[in-house]
Assembly symmetry: C2
Homo-oligomer: 442 residues x 2
């Protein structure tokens, strides 16, 4: 570990709802990796919640629970306040008070930043504290960092994003199940993807908050939520979605910000997108943001836009950012290899024999009975399960046929043995070609 461990940074949480508990869980679960990255341990000092007695799915035994959020923002021991209570006025008051007390602030509150951000940032500037808000847009996708830093060389031309997972879930459901808006929305509410009062998501208000933030950081303009043109998805029917599909389009609820010759367009509305576009294939609660810069061209940033852990991922990244800035010299802010030198792990690199994948095997076999039985027996003896077999017509120039076999996952050394044995069969006339198969899970 670190040669000279510094005192941990103490953070104070406002709110222990879904995202608050996710943040506690991620900080505790990944404490070791986070400390190795940040150069300093991060410790939850206290958390404010209306009902401290309620069981909430995270371990609160390691820190003080209080009911009054003011206790957190006034606590001399708290260095970073993490605001996760949502809403506008109360959150704003608490945040300004924290800033006034020279505490750094991390927030996931898009409404607050979109509507009051100009005022909040000015206060932070004066008090020389950081206000970080990566979790406000795109959940776990680090789109704020990407635009503010990763694309800093570009003149940004356009942003278009699926930035509300609830709306995308409803539209995907209407298409896949050929059902009406109201029915799918009811499902979403049952599954916890939509609030009891879903109007923020369904009417596009949440997306407009997020678009306000994206447009400001992309174009270098103030936050101007009141100028976003906003349309929801409540008017869409299953027929609209079907007709769009027949024409080769998907309907997605997009936030779009773009330069045109008159200025900057900011708009949130249902949008037809050609089916072949990657962003048209972002389904369910996932988010994706297309950013086009004059140098980089089109880029897409895809991931979970909501949920306890993905949002916590962004909150913790912001906390690490703050800690890195507080802790190290500017030139060592981010370690070259992400983790502090001296904390790199000596983990075994796996030998190819121990790789685990599925396989595509292409065999050339003499076209006679029994060959397939021999091959499948060899695979079976090595406990390699077969997913599919494709026996092709003979190409015609000799008496051999191509046989394609798709297997399930196995260790590479078993496959090596299988291939040797298959190649030793008299009916197999060429080397077996194998290509690994990965299914992933995006």
């Amino acid at each position: 570990m670190l040669d000279s461990p510094m005192k941990p940074v103490s953070i104070g949480l406002l709110g222990l709802g879904t995202v608050g508990c996710g943040t506690v869980n991620v900080l505790v679960r990944n404490a070791n990796e986070i400390t190795r990255r940040a150069g300093r341990a991060i410790e939850i000092g206290m958390a404010a919640t209306r009902d401290p007695a309620r069981d909430r799915g995270c371990d609160t035994s390691g820190f003080e629970l209080v009911q009054d959020p003011l206790e957190v923002v006034e606590s001399p021991q708290v260095e970073v306040v993490v605001e996760l209570i949502g809403g506008e006025q109360n959150a704003k008051d608490l945040m300004l008070r924290a800033i006034n007390n020279r505490k750094h602030v991390v927030t996931a509150n898009k409404a607050l930043i979109a509507v009051h951000g100009n005022e909040i940032f000015e206060a932070a500037q004066m008090k020389k504290v950081m206000v970080a808000f990566e979790a406000a847009v795109g959940g776990g996708i680090s789109i704020i960092k990407t635009i503010r830093e990763g694309l800093a060389g570009n003149r940004i031309e356009q942003i278009a994003g699926i930035i509300n997972g609830t709306a995308n879930f409803v539209l995907t459901g209407m298409r896949d199940q050929d059902r009406d808006f109201a029915a799918v929305l009811a499902d979403a509410q049952r599954l916890g993807y939509a609030e009891a009062d879903p109007s923020f998501d369904i009417k596009g208000i949440d997306a407009a908050h997020k678009l306000t933030i994206l447009a400001a950081i992309a174009f270098g303009i103030p936050l101007q939520y009141d100028k976003v043109y906003t349309e929801g998805i409540g008017q869409l029917t299953r027929d609209d979605i079907k007709h769009a599909g027949e024409l080769g389009y998907q309907i997605k609820h997009l936030g779009i910000a773009r330069r045109n010759r008159d200025g900057i367009e900011m708009r949130v509305h249902p949008t037809l997108i050609p089916q072949r576009r990657l962003i048209a294939n972002v389904d369910g609660v996932m988010n994706a943001i297309l950013v086009c810069g004059d140098a980089v061209g089109p880029t897409i940033h895809y991931g979970a836009g909501a949920g306890a852990d993905p949002t916590a991922s962004a909150v913790v990244a912001d906390i690490v950012d703050v800690v890195r800035a507080l802790t190290t010299d500017p030139e060592n802010r981010v370690p070259h290899l992400a983790f502090q030198p001296g904390t790199l792990a000596s983990v075994d690199i796996v030998a190819p024999d121990e790789f685990e994948t599925a396989y595509f095997l292409s065999l050339t076999a003499v076209d006679r009975p029994g060959v397939l039985a021999d091959v499948t027996r060899i695979l079976g003896d090595l406990k390699i399960s077969i997913e599919a077999i494709l026996q092709k017509e003979p190409p015609g120039n000799d008496d051999t046929v191509p046989v394609i076999i798709l297997t399930q996952r196995t260790r590479e050394r078993y496959m090596n043995q299988a291939v040797s044995k298959i190649e030793a069969l008299a009916a197999i006339t060429q080397r077996v070609k194998r290509i690994r198969v990965e299914h992933f899970n995006d």
Copy 2:
């Protein structure tokens, strides 16, 4: 602009090839936006190139051209050295010399970082300078920053990337044109997507360099290029690609780094991926990297992996990172809204009337001759071109039929006029529904 303009940062370029010239062009073209973001102007002080007289597609009149790269790394005026000459030994010597002279270094050289990075970073640590290498992986995609900072709260589980555009271009061409490897590779060479000696790309060496870097920053392990298992794409046939397609898979050349129970797998090889996965649909020279973290879940980062401007985008982002660290207090490193306070622009926000989009119109019309002629005349009079018309069968419960019209781009105010006139037609029995259409360009 800034209240107290600071002295510009002077950078020195090593190499004025494709990426070097791209970097000059981006720095010059976007000087205003970059200065507003970085808080300080960035100036090219000098550049080293073997043949200063050659015309190279960028304006070199603003800075000194020298032939000996040592002049750049020894120049007292240069604060940041940008290494874009490629290769290993010479680049390494120059970089270590620059570090020794306490200059910060930005590089796009993946071979150098993958093979000699451990040594280079140690030297940089001792001399307290930054070595930035965003452009080394994924071209303009800011994947290094995303993993090192944006996902800093996660235990990373897996990375899988299409990280060599040349190989992806060849595989896409083999599939789309049903042609052999050698023929498509020859095309790629003609088009400038592959080198005269393409072995670095085709044999997977370039991808292995990049994977080495990604694995190190994801898992907190040293750079270990010699432990990457590497297979190229030269053995793949059009039949392999066809058979994979029949089974519902695409073949992509992937770099994969993943934890398994024995340690970490690092491997580069052709891989079958189910067609429905987003990453299976990344075609041509584009790159995409799937990163799975325990908190964030799956994320995908997509963009141009090579080329002058996209690579320059990453190089300039690194330069801005260095300048921000050198220039501002840690807590002001990145301005809240990306651009320095006081440099926010007052740009007009476009009124909805002036939005420009294509439209999907859904009409309900009495099923009689002449209606379509009336509608198309109204659109034509307003210079709104029609892309497609879909006239549906009557649903059967009355004598109306749904008519779907897809238009080309127009200003919203013309569409407003058109819709008013269409709704005034006697044969149109309901409000016209309109949904905007965007084609994008990913």
